[in-house]
């Protein structure tokens, strides 16, 4: 029947031509697309649907509840607490490592600096470690009995500050964040150091002629020249701040007293421990939407600055 219609309207030839023209391209992306569709697109689409249902993961029946999960979320104090932890993570976890990395890479990038590749290698070492390893290592650093942090404080005469760092609900989130920054800093250094290679040396000479000191050179020459690279890692860090899971899960499981609960660990808890799969999916959607918004703003920014 279809064939007949195509024949009669002599579209077949053009269809054939279309297939011929596009076939190779599709064949090349097909294997990737297949895997990607099964393990990303389908589950993601499913997550959108699940977020509109009430399901315990066992029953065959998923009850459609419309936007109820989202309404519940707005009223859920724990959700807001978790989101505020993500906000801390997004802000501090973006600003602090980039600021430190900027200083380190400017120091390393100097024309006369010795041992540049040595320092670069050393700074990058924590980056290659699994976050499970990072979490255990920093669990030791903060250990109240034999932890390195308390020892160091004792040595410099601040022994009175020593405590179980991860047991304090006010401090725990910052302590975990420091561990995360430790494992991320070297990445920023390598990226910024690469960006510095593109900075025009003449501009420094000109700035020096005008009597600019190192600080003014940093603010008026280096940072504007690194604008692209800085926005790139800025966005990358912000997205990471929404996605954070591994290190929190390993170090505190969201405790003590939910003080380190982030949206991702809360999603895990709802989905796999409390068997509230619909609500868990809705929480996951919050993460997806926030990440997409940040990415979109970044792309817009980039387009504008490229014109």
């Amino acid at each position: 029947m279809v064939r007949k219609i195509l024949h009669s309207s002599s579209d077949l030839a053009s269809v054939r031509k279309w297939i011929q023209r596009n076939k190779i391209g599709y064949l090349f992306i097909l294997p990737a697309l297949l895997l990607y569709a099964i393990f990303f697109i389908y589950p993601f689409a499913n997550a959108i649907y699940l977020s509109l249902t009430d399901w315990n993961g066992v029953d065959l029946q998923k009850t459609f509840v419309g936007l109820n999960n989202y309404i519940r979320m707005v009223k859920d104090k724990l959700m807001w607490l978790a989101l505020s932890r993500n906000a801390i993570w997004v802000i501090i976890g973006t600003v602090v490592p980039i600021a430190i990395a900027l200083i380190l890479s400017v120091l390393l990038g100097g024309r006369k600096t010795k041992g540049r590749s040595f320092f670069r290698t050393v700074y990058f070492m924590p980056v290659v470690l699994s976050l499970v390893v990072v979490g255990i290592i920093w669990g030791w650093v903060y250990n109240p009995v034999f932890g390195m942090l308390n020892r160091v404080l004792e040595v410099i005469g601040l022994g009175s500050l020593s405590r179980g760092w991860l047991g304090d609900p006010k401090l725990a989130i910052y302590m975990v964040l420091i561990a995360a920054i430790w494992s991320y800093l070297g990445f920023c250094v390598v990226i910024l150091l690469a960006g510095l290679q593109n900075v025009k040396v003449e501009l420094y000479d000109a700035a020096k002629c005008d009597g600019a000191n190192s600080w003014q050179q940093l603010i008026h020459v280096t940072i504007p020249q690194l604008y692209h690279v800085l926005t790139m890692i800025g966005v990358y860090s912000m997205i990471n701040g929404f996605h954070v899971f591994d290190i929190v899960f390993v170090m505190t499981r969201g405790g003590p007293a939910n003080s380190t609960e982030v949206i991702a660990t809360y999603t895990y808890k709802q989905g796999f421990q409390l068997n509230s799969l619909g609500y868990g999916s809705a929480l996951g959607m919050v993460l997806a939407v926030l990440s997409l918004i940040v990415s979109y703003i970044f792309l817009k920014f980039r387009e504008r600055s490229e014109v």
Partner: protein, 274 residues
């Protein structure tokens, strides 16, 4: 003294941060060779007697030999799949014209932006319904799928940078489309592929949440996951925990030191083009 500090402030800052970066790792590696009582006494001290038995115990009773083997069994196919599929798709997006290529490329990019946690709940059921639980495939296939976004993004950028004349010349010589890809273009991808291999290797090696969700059997656990459960079981035997951390971190650290050129070049290339 003041003058010394002033002149060398730069190096003092650089060295302090270098110590900050490596000290926690070194303390952990040293602790692997100590007894628990020594660890309690002074975490920074060198071991007085070297206790190899911590490492031996972690390796056999802690089953790190098994976890390490599992990690290889999962990592090798994942990296090869990601690299080969990304090369093919990256070539198509970078060099071939076909309807909807831009749309498909954006769909692949979506994977870089959507966090894993947003779809992990349905993914769990997808993998279960495909009957993959209890096999290494439960991790290999999703891990590959999630690596494709970055891989395709990287390879597309690389192929776009190659001159079209190469392909045209080969076509004129009667090469079919597959041979243009296989024999002309693929051999040129060395630098991009080595970057992709190194990064995908690191990600898969360190992957934690995917096996936590999808590989339930103890006998299938890769190293990061194995280490987490192991450190939970031996919470108070600090020498053993440190030995586990050492066995999990040393291989990837050695690989980084050997191939660091590729790690750093991969990041650097992205920035300079960026």
């Amino acid at each position: 003294m003041k003058k010394f500090i002033g002149n060398n402030l730069k190096y003092i800052v650089l060295i302090l941060f270098a110590i900050f970066a490596v000290a926690p790792i070194l303390v952990m590696w040293m602790a692997a060779l100590k007894s628990s009582s020594e660890i309690f006494k002074d975490p920074f001290a060198l071991p007085t007697v070297i206790h190899w038995e911590n490492l031996a115990k972690a390796w056999t009773f802690g089953r790190f030999n098994k976890y390490l083997l599992n990690t290889f069994i999962v990592t090798l196919p994942t990296v090869s799949f990601v690299v080969s599929l990304s090369c093919m798709a990256g070539y198509a997006f970078g060099k071939l014209k076909f309807a909807g290529s831009k749309l498909f490329f954006y769909i692949f990019l979506l994977g870089l932006m959507v966090p894993f946690q947003a779809f992990m709940i349905p993914l769990y059921y997808t993998v279960r319904n495909l009957g993959l639980f209890g096999t290494y495939w439960a991790m290999i296939l999703p891990e590959t799928a999630l690596g494709l976004s970055f891989g395709i993004f990287l390879m597309r950028a690389f192929f776009r940078g190659l001159p079209n004349e190469l392909m045209d010349a080969a076509r004129v010589d009667g090469c079919n489309e597959f041979n243009v890809f296989l024999k002309i273009m693929l051999p040129l991808t060395g630098p991009a592929v080595s970057t992709l291999v190194v990064f995908q290797f690191m990600w898969t090696w360190n992957s934690f949440l995917i096996p936590l969700l999808l590989l339930h059997e103890e006998s299938l656990r890769p190293i990061a996951l194995g280490l987490m459960f192991y450190s939970g079981h031996h919470r108070t035997d600090y020498g053993l925990v440190a030995a586990g951390v050492t066995l999990a971190s040393l291989p990837v650290m050695i690989i980084f030191i050997i191939f660091q050129r590729h790690f750093i070049r991969g990041l650097t290339a992205g920035v300079i083009k960026g």
